[in-house]
């Protein structure tokens, strides 16, 4: 049992938890504790320390998009993203509800609405009073300062004017052609200018002091505002839900339209006169068509971040599959034939360093040439071009590794194949590919990592729905909230990249014959 768990951990690349399992099994506790301290304790300490450092540094740097978000703000942004996702799902769900379920949901929403409205009103009141208080506080603190500033400003301006007048008077009395006197005058003017400059600096400092007083934060007010915003958002969300459960609901809409249809049909039945009957018939038909349209309509749900994550993962897999489908056969041919290898080598050398940013526009245009109308195409051209860009950038490691793996099959194994006179296919599938498999998978693992990095850039550029587009939208929004959401993206992208890599490690280990294929 213990060894099974240990082996599974080893195969999954989670050797970090090895000592934990051993400790639970009571194997040499001091040694295991030491290892846990080193491999689990120290990383945790490092993470906590970096969070503290982040928390300290972030507020000290202000940007156009507001303050650099602290860990707390980023956490709130993450939960905000999730709430948005859940609420959109709920709305889409509500749109399709029918019968009793709809009535039940409607009752729930109304109850919650009744609960929340007084709370929101109370919160609003609190915000208002706190705002008034804070304004008073600022005025009492900054008001006298403001007066003082005005006085100081007039005083300095007057002093400067006086000095200038004195200088003009002196200049009039200055004898012409006297170099020494003129030199002395020049010095005096310089002194005057310098003095004016320092006075200006003093004024500016004073002004900043006053501004700081105005910008002073009132944590109570901020908290009250946040609470009010939260309640207000929920209230709006609930009112939207109400709409989708009543007039906006699909089944309700259809019932209303069907009633109209009944009336129209009755009218058609009783219609007299050629022109009127034709008109009535046309009306019935158009009504039927409109009912059809409503029945097949969907809630127009905006893309939420979790959807975009799934879409990105799907896109990277499509790209990765395209890339592998090209790279593995090509790599096998390269490894088998030196002529083919010689023919392919310049292309590998030339295209490998090309950035995704260069590939994408080219691919985009070419794909656009094949797909005329994106709305009716089975795949969105932006999605397809992102996937192809991923393929183009990520196929090289697999190609090179496959070629290497195939070319470096042990000579002994080849001799076995020769003695047995294996045909081309059994030689390939029984000897060459199995022996190259570990290297091929090592290449695939690198490829997937590269593909994931490339994908975000490709999506950002091609506006294909996905993580990259989310980042770009958030960047263009430019508010401090979206700034925090971009930080969330960093962690999500990192975590998914890590997960993909782990999956590839497990696959790689399960095909390598010197490891244990029976371990899983």
């Amino acid at each position: 049992m213990k060894f099974k768990i240990l082996k599974a951990l080893d195969v999954a690349g989670l050797q970090v938890f090895d000592p934990v399992v051993r400790l639970i099994c009571g194997e040499n506790p001091p040694a295991q504790l030491k290892k846990i301290l080193l491999f689990i304790g120290i990383p945790i300490v490092a993470i906590i320390a970096s969070i503290f450092a982040w928390n300290y540094i972030a507020p000290r740097h202000t940007t156009k998009a507001g303050e650099v978000p602290t860990p707390g703000v980023v956490k709130d942004a993450a939960s905000g993203i999730w709430t948005f996702h859940v609420r959109e799902n709920q709305k889409a769900h509500d749109f399709l509800l029918t019968g009793e379920q709809r009535e039940q949901a409607l009752a729930d929403v109304e109850a919650r609405m009744a609960e929340i409205e007084p709370l929101a009103a109370a919160a609003k009141e609190r915000v208002d009073t706190l705002e008034a208080q804070s304004k008073d506080a600022i005025d009492t603190e900054a008001g006298p300062l403001q007066e003082e500033y005005k006085a100081l400003r007039t005083a300095t301006r007057d002093a400067a004017k006086e000095r200038e007048a004195a200088l003009i008077a002196e200049a009039e009395a200055l004898p012409t052609g006297n170099a020494a006197a003129r030199e002395a005058f020049l010095k005096k003017v310089a002194e005057h200018e310098k003095l004016t400059e320092t006075e200006k600096d003093e004024l500016r400092a004073f002004k900043e002091h006053i501004d700081a007083a105005y910008a002073a934060k009132f944590p109570e007010l901020e908290a009250a505002r946040a609470e009010y915003n939260g309640l207000e958002e929920e209230r709006q969300y609930l009112s939207k839900r109400l709409e989708y459960l009543t007039d906006g609901n699909q089944s309700i809409k259809i019932t209303a339209e069907e009633q109209k249809l009944d009336e129209l049909q009755a009218g058609f039945l009783m219609a007299e006169g050629g022109k009127d009957t034709l008109k009535a018939a046309e009306k019935v038909l158009s009504q039927q068509a409109s009912i059809e349209r409503i029945a097949t309509s969907e809630y127009s749900r905006p893309w939420t971040f979790p959807d975009q994550i799934l879409r990105s993962v799907w896109c990277v897999f499509v790209g990765f599959l395209i890339g592998s489908a090209i790279a593995i056969p090509l790599g096998v041919l390269c490894g088998l034939s030196r002529i083919f290898m010689a023919a392919i080598t310049p292309f590998i050398a030339l295209f490998k360093p090309v950035s995704p940013i260069v590939w994408l526009p080219i691919v985009f245009i070419i794909v656009g040439g094949f797909i005329a109308d994106p709305t009716t195409a089975p795949v969105h051209p932006a999605f397809l071009s992102s996937a192809i860009t991923v393929a183009l950038c990520s196929l090289w490691p697999t190609l090179v590794n496959t070629a290497l793996g195939v070319a470096s099959v042990e000579k002994d194994h080849i001799n076995v194949a020769r003695v047995l006179r294996l045909g081309v296919f059994s030689r390939l599938f029984k000897i060459v590919l199995p022996s190259a498999l570990p290297l091929i998978f090592a290449g695939l693992r690198i490829s997937l990592g590269v593909g994931w990095m490339v994908l975000i850039a490709a999506e950002l550029l091609s506006s294909s729905e996905g993580i990259g587009k989310f980042v770009w939208d958030m960047f263009n929004n430019g508010s401090s909230q979206t700034f925090a959401q971009m930080f969330v993206v960093v962690f999500v992208v990192g975590a998914i990249g890590l997960l993909l890599d782990r999956i590839m490690i497990v696959l790689q280990r399960s095909v390598s014959f010197d490891g244990a294929p029976t371990a899983l």
Binding site: D412, H413, N415, V416, R418, V419, L420, R421, L422, S426, K430, I431, P434, S435, L437, F513, D514, P517
Partner: protein, 274 residues
């Protein structure tokens, strides 16, 4: 078919170009006939070209001049009628022992039924004493057991000629003796014509019907052929007690010493003339 000349090697030459592009004949004028069903050992110093002769017979190495005829047909390339047991076991690590043997059996008996093939594979593996470890992967087997799989793979092909290229070279002496008896047992039963490369005189005398002693290279060729007159099946202890065993052994060592002395003399002569 000529029973006396089941395998006929005539005027065999192997030449490699040296760094200056001149052909150097490693093996030159090697002539040997092998009787059907006999076990012949080739013995000689390391690097004299023993393995080169064997790989040429196996078809894995190109023949520069001369020719090899097996059962009335000149060989042109490798084939399962000349099964090889290499010095390293050369098993495919992603296949079990059973699958390793089956790979060859499938190739040799393309029309046999599944059950028949299975019987052949299981029989070959049990002959070498691996009935219990058929479905193990090579990494789960010891070196000696891996070599047994290699032997099973070779004999499962029912080859016309069995080629053993220092098959015990990498094994410890106890395992080596065990495997010698395993192979002798098989050969006594199946009467497969066998050529074995070795540099161990005891092994050569114990296992062969004839021993072919090769001179040192370059231009290596057959120096002397010695008949070994022991009855088959052989018993190691009984043979070890005979005087004949030691006489054969002495003769072999004498030949090898002479070869070495000749090489030394040749070197000195070359040094003097230079």
């Amino acid at each position: 078919m000529n029973e006396e000349k089941y395998v006929e090697i005539f005027n065999l030459v192997k030449a490699y170009p040296n760094p200056f592009g001149e052909a150097v004949k490693v093996v030159d004028g090697f002539n040997l006939n092998i009787r059907k069903g006999e076990v012949i050992s080739i013995i000689g110093h390391s690097g004299c070209g023993k393995s080169t002769v064997l790989t040429m017979l196996a078809g894995l190495n190109e023949i520069s001049d001369g020719g090899i005829v097996v059962a009335g047909r000149e060989i042109t390339g490798p084939g399962p009628d000349r099964a090889v047991v290499f010095q390293a076991p050369c098993l495919l690590p992603w296949m079990t022992a059973y699958q390793n043997v089956m790979l060859g059996v499938k190739q040799c008996y393309p029309h046999a039924e599944k059950a028949q093939r299975r019987i052949i594979v299981e029989y070959s593996l049990s002959v070498v004493g691996l009935a219990d470890s058929m479905h193990k992967y090579p990494r789960e087997l010891s070196g000696g057991m891996q070599q047994r799989v290699g032997i099973a793979r070779a004999i499962a092909l029912k080859p016309k000629v069995l080629l053993l290229d220092e098959p015990f070279g990498r094994l410890d002496s106890l395992t080596r003796m065990e495997l010698q008896d395993v192979i002798l047992g098989i050969l006594d039963r199946e009467k497969i014509t066998t050529m074995m490369i070795t540099h161990d005189p005891d092994e050569a005398v114990y296992m062969s019907d004839r021993i072919c002693m090769m001179t040192n290279g370059p231009h290596a060729h057959v120096g002397e052929i010695m008949e070994i007159d022991f009855e088959r099946p052989r018993d190691r202890e009984a043979i070890m007690e005979t005087d004949a065993f030691y006489a054969y052994r002495r003769r072999l060592l004498q030949f090898l010493d002479d070869c070495e002395a000749e090489k030394h003399a040749r070197k000195q002569k070359a040094a003097i003339s230079a």
